[in-house]
């Protein structure tokens, strides 16, 4: 059963979505990671992604990062369109402009960091349903995005079967040693370092935690059949990313923005 939202409900969803996006962007501004703060980077990695090639051939990243004023205007507009998308919810012009700007920002951030990270993609993906001003079309797209969220987590589990990390008992220890060695060197007396040492001393327990994490992704298949357990899926997503952040320094908190599709925003019956 599709949940058809009314304009007031769409407004509320927009407040949360673009409010969340604004917080993320302000955090990025504080971190010195917006376009005008990049200090004119030189080395980029468009990789084998032809969409990146097109954007780079159009010279957009090079121009924005190479001209401070242009970068500043871009950053300002990105924040402005984010706020505008929340408040001017009856029109789709602000979400369209937000979507274009955040897309360019993601390409710039990923290309100049030399690694195309997925954690930032939620900021763009969540804007897709808002590209439609019609509330019925928005509701259908929002519902579609909910299925896509379930697909993302479940396919992540599927890849772990196909590639084999699900059956690789050393995976937990290897990822901790690879990702957390710098942390443990810099902060040997931190509580987290002790937790990590304990985890490495108990490989079976650690392996079990990793397998549980992977199985948590598998649970998202339920979302294809019923919405009854969406709050559990939302809880699992939060838990999964929290534990990943602490244990292996994989920060996917920004990505949680797309989990907002798992909430029931209806205040009235269809």
């Amino acid at each position: 059963m599709i949940r058809y939202y009314d304009i007031e409900e769409k407004k509320r969803i927009g407040y949360f979505v673009f409010g969340f996006a604004l917080l993320i962007l302000l955090y990025r501004a504080w971190s010195g990671a917006l376009v005008s703060q990049l200090q004119g980077p030189v080395i980029s990695e468009p990789y084998v992604d032809f969409t990146y090639w097109i954007i780079f051939l159009l010279n957009i990243p090079q121009y924005l990062t190479g001209h401070f004023i242009a970068g500043r205007i871009f950053d300002f507009l990105l924040l402005f369109f984010t706020v505008g998308s929340a408040f001017f919810y009856k029109k789709n012009i602000f979400p369209i402009l937000y979507s274009v700007n955040i897309f360019i920002y993601i390409i710039i951030f990923n290309a100049y960091s030399g690694h195309h990270t997925h954690s930032i993609l939620g900021l763009w993906i969540i804007s897709w349903p808002f590209l439609f001003s019609d509330v019925k079309r928005f509701s259908l797209a929002w519902e579609g995005l909910r299925y896509y969220v379930c697909f993302i987590y479940f396919s992540a589990f599927g890849w772990k079967i196909v590639k084999g990390s699900l059956f690789h008992l050393e995976q937990g220890a290897a990822v901790i040693q690879h990702n957390m060695s710098t942390y443990m060197l810099e902060k040997p007396d931190a509580f987290l370092s002790d937790v990590l040492v304990f985890a490495l001393q108990h490989p079976n327990l650690l392996g079990g935690v990793f397998v549980l994490g992977m199985l948590a992704e598998a649970v998202f298949i339920i979302g294809f059949f019923t919405k009854k357990y969406d709050w559990i899926l939302l809880g699992l997503a939060v838990l999964f990313h929290t534990i990943s952040w602490f244990l292996i320094d994989v920060n996917f908190f920004e990505f949680l923005i797309i989990s907002l599709t798992l909430l029931n925003w209806k205040t009235t019956q269809n």
């Binding site: 010195g32 084998v48 032809f50 060695s181």
Partner: protein, 175 residues
């Protein structure tokens, strides 16, 4: 039981086409194992990672003082260390951008068809000086201090019998 696509088809044919094409693209790319924006593959940490004797890390030094990696915020360190790592990767790849190498190997004699595009969108050794200047600029910006000299140090780290990491060797690799 009627599916989402069934509802979508009857409610909005245009949106049905858009979402079907996106789903199809995502499905095809997932099967092919490649990703092109917006058809992403969600396979992070799916490859088995072996436990190693030692792990390679890069430490940055600003005016003789080691930079604390975790004093920087995540997006900031992703850009700074990611940029340094990638620059090092290019230098290790005989001063050639890895994407150029990838296509040269993949396309063989047909490489010249994409060569002008790749030369347009990827850097080469003529950009190295500017790249090192950028590292210095962004490092200065990141720690809010005018850095006069910087170094990137390659560290080999191993885990001892108490499961604590220790540095077993260091080597200056950049600039």
């Amino acid at each position: 039981m009627k599916t989402y696509f069934h509802h979508l088809y009857h409610a909005d044919k245009k949106l049905f086409i858009i979402i079907s094409l996106f789903s199809l693209g995502t499905g095809v790319m997932t099967i092919l194992g490649d990703q092109v924006t917006p058809f992403y593959i969600w396979g992070m940490f799916s490859e088995p990672i072996p436990v190693r004797e030692t792990y390679s890390k890069i430490q940055l030094e600003a005016d003789g003082k080691p930079l604390e990696f975790y004093d920087l915020q995540a997006p900031n360190r992703h850009l700074l260390y990611g940029g340094v790592h990638f620059y090092k990767k290019i230098k290790d790849n005989k001063n050639t951008h890895p994407t150029r190498t990838f296509f040269r190997q993949k396309l063989g004699v047909h490489y010249n068809k994409v060569q002008p595009i790749l030369e347009n969108i990827t850097c080469d050794s003529s950009d190295f000086e500017a790249a090192e200047e950028w590292i210095q600029r962004y490092l200065s910006y990141s720690i809010s201090k005018d850095v006069k000299e910087w170094r990137a140090i390659h560290q080999e780290i191993r885990f001892n019998e108490n499961n604590r990491p220790e540095v077993v060797s260091t080597q200056t690799i950049l600039p």
